[in-house]
């Protein structure tokens, strides 16, 4: 009666992607299957593995940053020897490079590609009922354009002068004028090249995603039957397509300033290091406008897919329909739309016209509204549910809990007068780590634990997953919550050593505490990595639908073969029909044929 339902296929008929079984050997075969594959699932996994490796690198960079903040000028344990600083101690310019590259790696090589690249690729065709992306070759290219970026970012540490050191925001003239920052010779140029490559990759990906979602939905899958994950990915793709080209253009201009000697971002009459660097006539604030015109929408690029995935996970484990599906969709769209008109809130202190600041302040306040709608709907979703505490669910709940903290601190900064005091202090650092790490990264972990069975045909170990969750949750709050307190004292960010200021010299013990927590947090990831790799090969075999979820990907084999579906999926309902009264199972998959009782119930509810 319900052909592709979980029970029917749960008994070992499922293909397990085992490389050993590959029928034809040979290098060419290997390359085309695992390296230059055009299959969206392989590409998704390639993105996943690459970004996890970079996540680790970014995390270690963060530890080095924390080391210097807590114990400035003391020998760095491992990195110190690696980079042969003066006797193992960190030079201030090295510190500048560390946080610049930490942020750049985390944002451009981890969070954006893991959300859009890894999960976007893996899930979009599966969740809408397509056999692949609309343009598989383009899709492959979007992954391979990441490699030059990996190379440029990675290489920049080893070039003369070291990596980029202008902050991830790369404000000129510091970033364009080599004399002002002797440490950044090639580093900044490589950074810009890497950024361009990430841009090309994202652009190729985003137009492909949009085309796929618009044209390749299974019969019956109307736009308002799409799971929230797909909505998140769709709107993110729109944001990328429209915001990223602006950064690319600005990047080219900065590149020209550095290499051709133009002066787009340098005003006339600079005197840097007692030398006059030549052509000017440009405007430093122009870069900031262009940069934030991209990078504000980019912060939503870094959270909307996570919000989507978390919505799906919450409903699955609360066994309840999503509360307010349409408001959720509209608020994602609202966040995206408003996201384009608030970029100036990063520039309240920049010397921008203060009257303009007021308009940006009002729009920034308004952007909290759709987020409020989302938060309340998540709460509404678990209200009255039957919550199953899987690891994935715990991470999803943590996402909600932490996003509230990160979002609320955004209100402080949106208030322009308060921002006068907290701008460029650790209050900001607290804010964005709460939304980015405590928010998005929790969403990513929720998604990894959730879709792992689909990706590898096996489930991750739940016990160790919970240990991983518990430790991460504790240490994360220990590290980042205290940053609010630092911010309240005015402790400035990006300082290699702030303790020589009278105002801040008593904050060292608190910083040391945070560093210990950060060390604990990174150490806890060993559990995750071990669980991840162990479960890939030895975890319990999962059926098609281990979580009894509703969406289309759970009707396909785990892992799905090439072409994804071994039957024609036809969609009969929205993705969130859990606990439908009068239905014998507690979930009705999107493909389950309409059954009289369920249909009646569904009608009654609308």
């Amino acid at each position: 009666m319900t052909p592709p339902a979980a029970t029917a296929v749960d008994h070992g008929h499922v293909t397990v992607s085992a490389p050993a079984h590959a029928p034809k050997g040979g290098l060419g075969h290997f390359l085309s299957t695992y390296v230059f594959s055009k299959d969206h699932k392989v590409i998704g996994l390639q993105f996943l593995f690459s970004t996890l490796v970079w996540f680790l690198i970014g995390g270690l960079l963060a530890l080095a940053v924390r080391w210097q903040v807590a114990w400035p000028w003391s020998d760095v344990p491992v990195l110190g020897k690696l980079f042969a600083q003066e006797g193992g101690q960190m030079a201030p310019e090295f510190y500048t490079m560390l946080f610049t590259m930490h942020a750049s790696v985390m944002i451009f090589l981890v969070i954006i590609p893991i959300l859009a690249g890894a999960f976007g690729n893996y899930l979009i065709p599966l969740m809408i009922g397509a056999d692949d992306m609309a343009f598989p070759t383009l899709n492959m290219l979007s992954y391979w354009f990441m490699w030059p970026a990996f190379f440029f970012f990675g290489a920049s540490f080893f070039v003369e002068g070291g990596a980029a050191s202008g902050g991830w925001t790369s404000y000129p003239p510091l970033s364009t004028n080599t004399a002002s920052s002797p440490a950044s010779g090639w580093g900044q140029t490589l950074w810009l090249l890497g950024l361009t490559m990430v841009g090309v990759s994202s652009m190729l990906g985003s137009v492909n995603y949009m085309t796929t979602i618009i044209l390749m939905r299974a019969p019956g899958m109307t736009m308002f039957r799409l799971p929230m994950t797909i909505w998140g990915m769709f709107i993110t793709a729109i944001l990328q397509a429209f915001a990223l080209p602006v950064l690319t253009a600005a990047g080219f201009m900065q590149l020209a300033d550095r290499t051709l000697g133009t002066g787009f971002f340098s005003p006339e009459g600079l005197i840097v290091n007692n030398a006059v660097p030549g052509a000017g006539g440009g405007q430093p604030l122009l870069w900031q406008h262009l940069f934030w015109f991209y990078s504000h929408p980019a912060v939503y690029i870094m959270i909307l897919p996570a919000m989507g995935m978390v919505s799906d996970i919450l409903t699955t484990f609360a066994r309840k329909p999503l509360f307010g599906y349409r408001p959720m969709v509209y608020s994602v769209a609202g966040i995206a739309g408003l996201g384009f008109i608030v970029w100036g809130h990063h520039m309240f202190m920049s010397g921008m016209n203060p009257a303009l600041g007021i308009t940006f302040m009002v729009s920034t306040m308004m952007i909290a509204l759709p987020s409020a709608v989302k938060t309340f709907n998540w709460l509404g979703t678990i209200w009255g549910g039957r919550i199953q505490f899987t690891t994935s669910m715990l991470f999803a709940l943590a996402f909600v809990s932490m996003f509230i903290i990160g979002g609320l601190s955004g209100i402080f900064m949106a208030a322009t007068p308060v921002d006068i005091f907290i701008h460029d202090t650790y209050f900001i650092v607290a804010h964005f780590h709460y939304v980015l790490f405590a928010g998005t990264a929790m969403g990513v972990w929720a998604a990894i634990y959730f879709w792992f069975p689909k990706m590898f045909g096996r489930t991750m170990n739940e016990f160790w997953g919970k240990v991983h969750f518990f430790l991460t949750f504790i240490f994360m709050n220990g590290t980042f919550f205290t940053m609010h307190i630092l911010g309240a004292v005015g402790f400035p960010r990006r300082l290699a050593d702030a303790y020589h200021y009278e105002t801040f010299h008593h904050l060292q013990p608190l910083n040391a505490f945070m560093t210990w927590c950060a060390i604990g947090m990174v150490a806890s990831q060993i559990i995750f990595a071990a669980n991840f790799f162990w479960s890939m090969f030895y975890g319990p075999v999962a059926g098609r639908n281990p979580w009894n979820a509703n969406t289309l990907e759970w009707t396909a084999p785990s892992p799905p073969g090439h072409g994804n579906f071994d039957f024609q999926p036809v969609v009969h309902r929205g993705p969130y029909e859990y606990s439908v009264p009068g239905c014998e199972k507690d979930h009705l998959m999107q493909t389950d044929p309409p059954n009289a009782a369920a249909a009646a119930a569904a009608l009654a509810a609308h």
Binding site: P3, P4, A8, V9, H13, V14, T15, A18, H21, A22, P23, K24, H29, S32, T33, S37, K38, G129, A130, D131, D132, A134, M203, S206, V207, M210, T211, L215, M216, R217, A218, P219, A241, F242, P245, V246, A249, A250, M253, A256, L260, G261, T262, G263, F264, E268, G278, A279, G281, G282, Q283, L286, L290, G561, H562, G563, F565, D566, F567, V571
Partner: protein, 329 residues
Amino acid sequence: MNASAISVPHGHDHGHHDGHGHHGHVTLQYQPGLPLSKGKLIMWLFLSTEIMFFAALLGSYVVLRFGAAVWPKPHHVHLSEPIGAFNTFVLICSSVTIVLALEAARVNKVGLAKTWMLLTLLLGTLFLGIKAYEYQAKFSHGIYPWKPRGLIYERPDLYYGSAVRARLGEPAMIDRLKELDDTPADQLSTDQVAARTRLQQVRKMVASPDQQAFDLAVVADQIMPLPAEGAAHAEGGGDGHGGHGGGLNDVFPWLRLPIVIPGGNMWASTYFLMTGFHAIHVLVGLIVFAILLSYRLDAKRAGMIENAGLYWHFVDLVWIFLFPLLYLF
């Protein structure tokens, strides 16, 4: 369908990843979305990213231009409206010919389609050729987008004076100047004779270490006079691309003395940035046309031609914005 019917044997999907429809995996059907083909939709979406890209460049231009204290007039920088207008015309024609190629291909007039396509390719090439000629005119006047080669100074100040002096003092230049001084007047045109006298004056003025700003303004005017408002057309001629003859650099192109164009550096930066990226887009279009020409342009290819045409119209449209911004205002 029952479980065994839908189960997939081990390793089934390996080895046949490039051809769809193999091994009996179902060819999926889709919910009707927009009434557009995949190719056309992605082309539209791609173009919207391109719009944002050029919007950023144009926006920056506007901000930089109106934030600048001075901005050169088109004639100060050797821009010629007639050439620009002609190039605009060329590009618009090519937009027409690509449409004609599409129409021909749709009704399977393969030969005709090829002809129109070839014409489009030629017109595009002509556009680039003219653009190259215009670039050449800038370069020959020392207007470069990059620093060490650019000869532009913003104002006739002390830095400018010493730059002129340094150029005149280069060993090769000294020889060349001496050669010029020694050339009998009858081997030179009257223009050149007059210019030689002016050049000697300039050399004298610059040689004295304590020149006045006033002197330097005169020097700059001798090296490359900036046409006054309105006078430009009457005076133009000489090099035939919107310039003005008579400057020392024009009479003796080998001189390449530093010149003064207020706002010139930023102008050059934005000009080359915008037209450069536009030219790259034109070039990409031409490559696409060249590839298309190697196919049989029948109704089956109409989709490809249409997409190429969409792209080409966009490139055209960008130019329609660039032309007035750069040449007319």
